[in-house]
């Protein structure tokens, strides 16, 4: 698989940059395109906004059946990430969770985006984030998992 498709949206994934529709306020993430997916404005006027790393779980599941490269149980959640300045709407983002006991998850729980190498595309590492409970509350780990970059496979 070519790595090029992962370089196009890299800024959004590396730095939680999102795009707010100036007509309806919808926050587009991770894609920036020229039309609004909610109000249909075409072309829409988008302004860049910065998302916070901490957001709220809207819903989730805990996956038990996945290919070997994924750790299981593997929770996945839809998370609303607010804008850093506290204004406007949150972006609705979904993603895998790590360092999380599935029994500890619930709708409304706070989680934090933690950056890591998610996988490799050809020879290139692809960096983005997984969600995890805020550090002081993390369950079943005492580790400093944030920012891990080495090793093999999915983490």
């Amino acid at each position: 698989m070519s790595g090029i498709r992962y370089s196009r949206d890299r800024r959004q994934h590396d730095r939680l940059v999102a795009f707010e529709c100036q007509d309806c306020g919808w926050v587009s993430y991770p894609e920036q395109r020229r039309t609004c997916k909610r109000c249909g404005a075409a072309p829409a006027e988008f302004e860049e906004v910065q998302l916070a790393e901490r957001g709220e779980v809207q819903t989730y599941v805990v996956q038990s059946r996945l290919p070997e490269e994924f750790e299981t149980p593997q929770p996945v959640a839809v998370v609303d990430l607010p804008q850093v300045d506290g204004e406007g709407e949150p972006a609705r983002v979904y993603g895998l969770l790590t360092e999380t006991d599935g029994d500890d998850l619930e709708v409304g729980r706070e989680v934090v985006a933690r950056y890591r190498e998610l996988f490799t595309a050809g020879d290139r590492p692809v960096h983005s984030f997984k969600f995890a409970p805020p550090r002081a509350e993390s369950i079943g780990t005492d580790g400093d998992g944030a920012g891990d970059r080495g090793g093999e496979g999915e983490r």
Partner: protein, 384 residues
């Protein structure tokens, strides 16, 4: 000027693990079953719409149908629209007949789900870009279950009741893949797949094919035992990530597609006697009751638990056993559902026949676009 489209006949084959049969064999068998049901010559078929995702990578393009059926020198269009592929193929044939361009259209769908070496979970989890990576179909649908329980107090047992009902129906339906009955306890104690969904909340991996013939009123009067008109169709798309809170629990695409089909047909949810709906997972059917308007939003759990979706309920939902028992060979699924609604409307549904049916509805919801987008197709049929 438009005219009406009718179902002229259907060809159903047994769904299941068809290891001995190739993709072409399945197409050929469905086509022959159709010709066995309706006495038309191949030279009377003006065009064909062909539904397949081609999971097995051997059925690309209309040429696959030409080879399997002998319908050469015939316009054949492949339709691909996620899990709404088969129903959208029907819809396209209906539009062609209504437009006056085509008098007699074959719709045929097929999928060889069990021939993929990599496995479907692997395909779903590893081939997507970015955030869709590692997110499987049971997760995409299961997230609705979590939120529905949280928001509406739906119970895990109520969700299981969908599977119990559909397996009960499937045990009586001759073409179903799995013909066993199960209890709520069986569902709750089956292997965890994507919590809160267990194995018996998930449809099996199934090979299959199905065909229907769509044509003019004149042809229907000549060939069909009863006049079954396609009263309305609807197709729509939506996304998980548009910030629409309804999509956390429901499928706005189903709401829009069914609104279109209801409006075109002049019928509403209260008129529907029998429905074949998309139950790829138990929770999918539960929220679909609400999206189609069979009950109030939030009431799907009670709707199934109180037997209102049973064969003798308010709306008989999935008399065939649905995808949960019958199986879900993607390209064939929607075509088979239309064939089953047709069988209900002409009174030839055997052990799962529903009494007094006049209006039937067929529904699919599919997922695509990096596991965020959904697409729905709804077709409403009536006995004239």
């Amino acid at each position: 000027m438009t005219r009406d489209a009718y179902v002229l006949g259907r060809g159903m084959i047994d769904f299941g693990e068809r290891y001995e049969d190739s993709f072409d064999d399945l197409l050929e068998e469905a086509y022959l079953a159709l010709l066995d049901d309706v006495n038309v010559g191949s030279d009377e078929i003006d065009a064909a719409w062909y539904g397949t995702l081609d999971v097995a990578d051997e059925g690309m393009s209309g040429a696959a149908v030409a080879h399997a059926t002998g319908l050469f020198e015939t316009p054949i269009t492949q339709v691909v629209n996620a899990c709404a592929t088969g129903s959208d193929a029907v819809r396209n044939a209906v539009l062609a007949v209504e437009s006056g361009q085509v008098d007699c259209a074959l719709v045929i769908g097929a999928e060889k789900m069990r021939d993929t070496a990599e496995g479907l979970i692997s395909l779903a989890a590893e081939k997507r870009v970015w955030r869709g990576r590692g997110v499987t179909m049971p997760a995409f649908f299961g997230m609705r279950a979590t939120r529905h329980m949280e928001e509406y107090g739906t119970t895990r047992e109520q969700i299981a009741e969908v599977s119990v009902k559909n397996h009960r129906h499937g045990s009586m339906y001759p073409h179903a893949h799995y013909k066993f009955e199960c209890s709520v306890d069986d569902v709750l104690s089956s292997t965890t797949i994507s919590e809160p969904l267990n194995l018996y909340d998930c449809c099996p991996v199934t090979d299959g094919a199905a065909a229907v013939l769509i044509g003019t009123e004149d042809l229907a009067r000549e060939h069909a035992p009863e006049l079954v008109r396609v009263a309305g169709t609807g197709l729509s798309s939506d996304s998980f990530v548009r910030g629409n809170d309804a999509s956390l629990t429901h499928f706005p695409a189903t709401r829009d597609a069914s609104s279109r089909a209801y409006e075109a047909s002049g019928y509403g949810p209260e008129d529907v006697d029998v429905a074949e709906v998309h139950d790829c997972f138990s929770i999918t059917e539960l929220v679909t009751y609400e999206d189609l308007g069979f009950c109030e939003v939030g009431d799907g759990g009670r709707f199934v638990a109180e037997g209102r979706a049973d064969l003798d309920g308010e709306v008989a939902v999935n008399p065939s056993g649905g995808l949960l028992a019958k199986g879900h060979p993607i390209g064939a699924t929607g075509v088979a559902q239309v064939a089953e609604i047709y069988e209900q409307l002409i009174g030839q549904a055997g052990d799962v026949q529903v009494d007094g049916v006049e209006v039937g509805l067929q529904h699919n919801i599919g997922v695509g676009r990096n596991a965020t987008g959904s697409v729905s197709c709804v077709n409403v049929l009536e006995r004239v």
